[in-house]
Each structure stands twice: as C-alpha cells, then as structure tokens.
C-alpha cells in the first residue's frame, strides 16, 4: 500500500491509496453526512447524502463509493453539493411516515438527526407514500414499511453478516421496497430473530415487538408475584440510553431501577448462567468420557438455535441439551423459588430483560415450559427496559447502586462474561479444568478465546492428558462457515467444543441493545467496548468460577442433586426440532 495526493476543499492531503473519499475525509476531520453508509457492511451509494463535487466530473459523486486517486480534487461543501443533498433528503422525507413524536426511534433516529443538522424545515414535495405494509406477525421483529428509506443496511447485514438473507429489495421504481419474498411475513421465511436488522436500521422501519405494556399489566395485578431477571450484557449497554459513555457498566443502577419499577424480586440471569456452566460442563465431560457427539456446541443464543434448526437440522445432535440461562433461571424460579416461598407458580410472572429480540421467540417455545407454565413469561429488550425506567420517572443517572436479591441473584465473574463472544467458553473451561484436575486452578484467564474476532480457535490442555480443541464464533455468517465445515467433515469436524453466538461480538451487540449511530460505529468498536465492561466486572469479582458460587453449591445440595442428574434433566435441559425455511401456508 502506498499513498496518493488528493485535495479536499482545497486542502492538500496525502492518504492511503486503497480508501474512499469518504474515509479520506473522515481521517482528516472533514465530516461528510451519510445515511445508508455502514462501514464494511453497506457501501452502495444509495442515499446520495455523501455527495461531493469532483473536479472534472460531470455529476456529483457519492463519496462512500468514490475511490481516491492521485491528483483527485473534491469539494464537500459547495452550493451545488448542499442543494443536491437537501433535495435528496427532502425527497426521502416526502416518502417517509414522519410520525416522529410517537416513533420508537424518536431522538435516536439517524434520519431525524440529519434533518436537524441540515436544517430541513419544509418539504416541498407532496404525494403518495410508496410503503404501506406493517408486518407484525413475528414474535420478535416488527417491520414498518411506511418508514423504510430503502437504504438496504438490513439487507446486507442479514445476508452478509448474518448469513441468513431473508430481507431483500423487491420490485423497482416507486414501488421498490425491502421485504421478504412473496409477500410473506418475516415470521414465515427462516428469519432467525437476531434483530441485527433492527440495530442497524437508521430509522424506525424495523423494531422489536413492544412488550412493555404486558410487564406493566403484570406489575399492576395484585394477585401476581412478578420476578425479574436481567442478562449479563444488559448492564454493559443500558447506560447508553441515559447518556453514559459506551462501555459503562451500570450493574448497580440496573438492580436499583428494577426494584424501583416495582418488581417483587430482582434476580440475575447470571445465576442461571452459573447453573448453565454446571450443566453444560457436566455434559461436556460426559460426552468426553462416553464418546458422545463432537463437537459439542453451546445452546445459549436463541438466534443461533433457530439458525441451526432452520439451516442445519441434520446436525442438531451437536447442540448441548442445556436450556439457555434465561430459561434455566425461569425454570428454577417457578420451581425451587416458588416452593421455598410457598407461592403457587401459576401466580408468578417471570420477566426477563435481555439484549436480544430472539429471546421473545425463545420464551414462546413450548419445550421451555413445565406443566403448561412457561419458564419465562415476558422477555423485554434493553431498549424496552430503558423506556420503562423513563416512564417510571426513575432518575437513572443518580440512583444509588444496589445489589440483586440473594440466592437467584448471586453470581460469579464467569457468568458476567457470558455477554461477550468467548465468554461461555471461558467460563466453561474454568469449571471443567477444575473438575477434571480435581483442583482449584489459578489460571482463570483464557485470553485466547477473548476478543471480537468472528471465529477464534485454541487448543487447550485441560489436564496433562487431555487437550481440547475449542472455538468461539459469533455472527451468523461465521457460524455457517463452521457448520458447513462440520457438515462436510472439514476442519471444524475435529473440534471438541464450540461456542456459537448469533450476534457479531456476542450478546453485548445483540439485537435488543441500544442503537448506536453509524458515525459512532466508525470511531469505536462497540462490541469490544461493551465487552470490556463485562471483563472488568469479572476481574473485580472475588469468585470467578461458577462451581465456586456458594448459591450454586446450595441449589445442588438443597434441590437439584447433582449436575446432569434427574432433576436437572427435568428442569434444565431441552430438545430441538427442524424448521422449514419457508412455512407452508
């Protein structure tokens, strides 16, 4: 790679020769507005916001797809550029349902922000709006075509990052739209419910199914005992909704806010995560000792589970039979907790706060229930919880830190890192190594499975006689690479244990997490910053191995018996089934 000399707005610049004008401008603190642009994912010059005037070129050029070249000269702020940008934005707005005050993206909308920045005060174009459809048949994701601006971010995220590809451009001209095939709902086309389309949508065209009202209804019902559990990754991102910098850990404020909202018990899915390690670790050891199916693959991520059931139904036996931590926590609340406190499980409502929209689908799985009672009743996202905190008028910034309620809210550092890719693997290794060596090993930091790379691999000597090949992967397309390899008997067929998370970077970057503007994604590695908040909490924990959690010892002593035992299998393990790519009507 070498440098080329270019001129932007009259400034002489030397920039690498393999970048775009947009990137060159960014490197030199020249801001060019963008809307459809998503670094590395969507660079298609569709929205015409990043137009620049190029010397010698007849028309304005989209800088996101304009490569730099020696002697190139552009201007980013001429009258011609500003006028064109304004007209293009006004045209987008003329075809956009501008119900901003009641939109979920109000104040966190990239289109709205751009209109503010460009001072749009009037839309001279009137006429028909092309999109009409609202697809709300999916339990997880709602599509509102009246707000879609056809930027195709969702299309490319779904297809290229997640390896799913259930959204695509349809038709042409004024009737162009982005939707699934043959007028079908997202619910019927092999969508894995990961919600990556939601967190990359610049506007409110894709959003989670809003279950906030159901939670309030339960809280307002005096006959219901409402218990909440919160997933590890929520604490690493919730603060962003209240102005805290990305990567701020707000565990204490989270627990305090949940209590102020009025939940009868404030528990932590991290306890469920510690239980998961006991069960999954035991399952792994059992497979090793009894010649089971390898590689064994984790089962915490509901997006991953649906991807597996839809696209790799022939490989289901590779999945761990463990329920997800959310479901384990729920199942234990409705059994052991209910018995301890003499509460009829039918009167308990378990609400979970998740970084995930696929968890909404997971809680509806009939396998995740006991005697007709679902393990978890309502799953809401980090974003929905933020809305509840705001509606309840809780002063989140100033609320004093509190702890989760004891026993089902007690957790270790191992559980906290479940929220980052590689975390489940690391937590499992900490316990499996101790168990197999019958020792309390000092080495707890498995750095080789950390970091935000899409696929991480390592060979780890768990005991002097046993080396295991492990991998941790995140992002659907990476998961598919591994599954294709296993199916074909390739490299990954030889592995022992693989952790799979549907969302790139793991749950910290889940589809239920706060939106981050594309501009901020340029400057920061969002999953890495959020993950750091979790690894820091892990490091600060006195207990960093799941099996050393005294409440874990207690629940096995008092209730479950031994990991992988009869009671565990009844409550904490599940089954999977094949799903069609396209549902027959």
């Amino acid at each position: 790679m070498s440098n080329v000399n270019i001129k932007i707005n009259g400034m002489d610049l030397s920039v690498p020769d393999d970048i775009t004008v947009l990137e060159a401008a960014k490197m030199n603190d020249i801001d060019i507005p963008t809307l459809c642009y998503l670094r590395g994912i969507n660079q298609i010059g569709a929205c015409r916001m990043c137009l620049v005037e190029q010397k010698g070129a007849r028309a304005l050029q989209a800088s996101c797809v304009l490569p730099v070249s020696e002697g190139l000269e552009v201007w980013t702020n001429t009258k011609k550029v500003r006028d064109a940008r304004r007209v293009n934005l006004e045209l987008i707005l003329s075809n956009h349902n501008r119900e901003c005050t009641i939109c979920t993206r109000n104040e966190r909308c990239e289109l709205q922000k751009l209109c503010q920045d460009l001072g749009i005060r009037d839309i001279p174009y009137e006429g028909e709006i092309s999109g009409h459809k609202i697809d709300d048949a999916s339990i997880s994701v709602v599509r509102d075509e009246t707000k879609c601006i056809l930027c195709k971010r969702c299309v490319n995220v779904c297809r290229n990052v997640q390896g799913v590809g259930v959204l695509g451009p349809v038709g042409r001209g004024f009737t162009s739209r982005v939707e699934p095939v043959f007028d079908l709902s997202l619910n019927d086309v092999g969508c894995i419910n990961c919600g990556q389309c939601i967190i990359h949508c610049p506007v409110g065209a894709l959003k989670e199914r809003d279950d906030v009202d159901k939670v309030w209804e339960a809280l307002d019902d005096p006959k219901k005992y409402v218990v909440v559990q919160s997933a590890p990754a929520v604490r690493a991102a919730l603060g962003e909704m209240f102005g805290f910098p990305i990567g701020t850990n707000v565990t204490g404020k989270l627990a305090a806010s949940l209590r102020r909202i009025g939940f009868d018990k404030v528990f932590d899915t991290d306890f469920g995560a510690d239980v998961t390690i006991m069960e999954e670790g035991t399952e792994l050891i059992d497979r090793i000792q009894n010649n089971g199916v390898f590689p064994m693959i984790t089962s915490c991520s509901p997006g991953w589970i649906k991807l597996m059931e839809t696209y790799y139904p022939d490989l289901l036996p590779h999945l761990s039979s463990c329920k997800s931590p959310q479901a384990m926590e729920g199942a234990l609340i409705k059994s052991h907790f209910a018995e301890m406190n003499h509460i009829n499980p039918e009167d308990i409502v378990v609400v979970s706060v998740m970084p995930c929209v696929a968890k909404k689908f997971e809680v509806k799985r009939s396998e995740l229930s006991e005697g007709g009672l679902p393990d978890v009743d309502i799953a809401i996202t980090t974003r929905e919880l933020a809305r509840m905190i705001k509606e309840a008028r809780i002063d989140f910034e100033n609320v004093r830190d509190e702890d989760f309620d004891p026993y089902f809210g007690d957790y270790t550092g191992a559980a906290v890192i479940f929220g980052a890719t590689g975390g489940v693997m690391e937590a499992a290794l900490r316990t499996v190594a101790d168990v197999l060596n019958d020792a309390d090993l000092e080495a707890v930091d498995y750095e080789m499975v950390r970091g935000v790379d899409g696929i991480k691999t390592a060979e780890i000597a768990v005991t002097p006689d046993l080396t295991v090949k492990v991998a941790a992967a995140s992002g659907g397309a990476n998961l598919r690479k591994i599954m294709d390899s296993i199916r074909e008997g390739g490299e990954f067929a030889d592995y022992d244990f693989i952790e799979m998370m549907a969302c790139p970077g793991g749950c910290v970057n889940g589809g239920g997490q706060p939106h981050v503007r594309a501009k901020d994604k340029l400057e920061k590695d969002i999953p890495a910053e959020r993950a750091k908040a979790l690894y820091d909490e892990d490091k600060a924990h006195k207990i960093r191995k799941s099996h050393q959690n005294p409440s874990i010892t207690r629940i096995y002593d008092e209730y479950l018996g031994k990991p992988g035992g009869h009671k565990s299998h009844e409550l904490l393990h599940t089954t999977y089934h094949a799903r069609p790519k396209i549902k027959e009507s």
Binding site: V155, R159, V164, G165, V166, L167, G168, P169, V170, G171, R172, P180, V181, F182, D183, L184, D188, V189, K581, I582, K583, E584, S585
Partner: protein, 163 residues
C-alpha cells in the same frame, strides 16, 4: 401464497446446471425457467436459490425487478394492451379498461378459469397502428373500445370449442 404446485423440477435443475458456472447466470436461468414452466412461482425460485447457493431474496429481487418475469401463471390466451406513449395518447387506456371489463380480469392477473391473462405493456413497436392490442401473437391496431368485445369473443368461443 406459500402453497407449492409444481413438483417436477427436472427442467429447472437442468437449466441451472447449464448456466451455473457463468458469471451473471441468474438472468438466463430465470428466462429459460419461465420459458419452460410459463412462470416463476416460489417453488421454482427456491430450487434456483438452493442450486446456486444464494439467498432466495436475491432470486426474488431479480424476478420482481424485470417486468418480463411473472410470478403467476399466465392464461392460455395472453392479452397485451400497449400503454407506450403513442398508443397512450391515442386512447389505449380506454382499450385496456374495455378488456378488463369484458374479461373480468385485472392488469397483471389471470382469469380464474386460466384462459385469459391481461397485461399492460410498453411499446410493442407498432406505433403506426396505435392504439394497439396483442392477443397471443396477433396484433390488432387502430382500435376503438367498441371493437374490443368482438375481437375477444373469437378467443372466448374458439377456446370453448377445443375445451
């Protein structure tokens, strides 16, 4: 919508096999598949997507982008009314309305008995005869709406004889 009717995929698989190694092969595959089956329903697009190992949305996107492709079966008789500029200014919209009225079938639709489909087309290259309607391969030019019922009647009756 997701009900599948076609069950014999031999032809489409042969078509894909013939073109699969050529870059940009999706267009000729869709054209030939439509030629072989008459239309491009879900089940055929699924086979094409699976065989090429690309998302179904990509196949569907192309199939809905170009007006030459149809997702619904066409009628035994295909009525095309030209809405190109020359025909349009000479009143072809009224011809089209009359066709819809006589056949009870809307633009882009096929009659329930499968005998007629109605389409509005771009210029068919017979501007001197505007306004123009085509039924199958026959061109009818310099039309007035009142001529339409008589022309269509031939096809309605002809079909009944063979049926």
């Amino acid at each position: 919508m997701a009900a599948r009717r076609i069950t014999d995929f031999t032809a489409v698989k042969e078509i894909v096999a013939k073109h699969r190694d050529t870059p940009g092969c999706l267009m000729p595959i869709l054209q030939e598949t439509q030629g072989a089956y008459g239309y491009l329903p879900l089940e055929l697009q699924e086979v094409i997507a699976d065989e090429l190992d690309i998302p179904l949305t990509e196949v569907y996107g192309v199939a809905t982008f170009y007006s030459q492709f149809t997702l619904k079966p066409k009628g035994a008789n295909q009525v095309h009314v030209c809405l190109g500029t020359a025909c349009y200014v000479r009143g072809s919209k009224k011809i089209l309305d009359k066709v819809i009225d006589v056949l009870g079938t809307d633009v882009g639709e096929t009659s329930e008995d499968g005998r007629f489909s109605v389409d509005a087309t771009r210029c068919v290259g017979a501007c001197g005869l505007a306004p123009v309607m085509m039924v199958n391969d026959t061109v009818y030019g310099r039309l007035t709406p009142d001529q339409v019922p008589k022309i269509l009647k031939q096809y309605i009756e002809k079909k009944e004889e063979t049926a």
